[in-house]
Symmetry: C2
Subunit: 185 residues, 2 copies
């Protein structure tokens, strides 16, 4: 049985990117003399069998060449969309799903088999999945910086309380905190 | 020289209380069989020489009897206000300051001497102090729960980036993460 996992870095004040998708805050932390917390994506993605992204993350990822990164591995990437985009990229094995998140999740589960589903983003996608009880695990690294404005990870949850059970928490000399929680259902 | 310290618990999604000031989420975590993370306020307040609160926290604290709690110790409590309230409480040694946060900070520093200034809250007060570079240290305990709505700790910062330097991070079996960061200036 596949599990669905969110994996990302957010600022201490809850943002995953600046107002204009900036990641300069993350580069600041990585440049600290205390060293970069090893955010080893390939160890994670080696366990992944399918990836789910929203339409905006697809467009942004194409523009910025994210999906050419080998760390994402050979997994098919299911793109949530209202209609198949004109801009068809061959950076990865993209599969467009316009039939809603439940169906995207079902297709991704079938493809992933025993491997994990990597919920890539963005925040709107996470929140829809959290609201529908489709997330099993969160791997969120908290960066030691406040940026004040930007794209919030959590801003539109409709479920009242979602309790988290600790799997693992690791803190790094540069101030990064890697957290891994199970969503309690 | 006194240092100014913020000390509180927030949810993983960045709230310090529910929409109607509820703290039920915190009680849920404390009731877990994995035990309550010892949020030992009196160890902290034994190092405190002055407390600063906003007007709303003052009213709420009076209504809920917070300041009768011996854990807050004998420190004078400076209340930021536009005018001295009609509702004068004798729950603690309250001192009303209507001349702005810089002046409140100066008065609290003089009173605290070598001891710390405990920035009690609420979030509007924190953010004004952060924006004015008046905070030295944050002690924030992150509770393993998402509540979706409520009173955000960080929502109105005007400074672009505030970097944090790790002093100490401790994670507890019940999923709480106690963080202690120095504000880099």
């Amino acid at each position: 049985m596949s599990k669905t996992v969110l994996n990302l870095v957010m600022t201490f004040d809850g943002f995953v990117a600046g107002e204009h998708d900036e990641m300069d805050w993350l580069h600041k932390i990585h440049k600290r003399p205390t060293g970069s917390a090893k955010w080893d994506l390939s160890t994670f993605t080696s366990q992944v069998g399918a990836i789910i992204v929203g339409r905006r993350s697809y467009e942004l990822g194409i523009a910025q060449g994210w999906f050419k990164n080998e760390a994402y591995g050979p997994s098919p990437i299911f793109v949530l969309c209202e209609s198949v985009p004109a801009n068809l990229s061959h950076d990865a094995d993209f599969r467009f799903v316009s039939t809603g998140i439940q169906d995207a999740h079902r297709q991704a589960s079938e493809t992933a088999g025993d491997k994990w589903i990597y919920l890539f983003g963005g925040p709107n996608v996470f929140q829809q999945f959290l609201n529908e009880d489709l997330v099993d695990e969160m791997r969120i690294t908290i960066a030691p910086i406040l940026i004040g404005k930007g794209i919030r990870l959590f801003h539109n949850l409709t479920k009242r309380h979602i309790e988290l059970e600790k799997i693992n928490v690791t803190d790094h000399p540069n101030g990064m905190i890697e957290t891994n929680y199970r969503i309690m259902k």
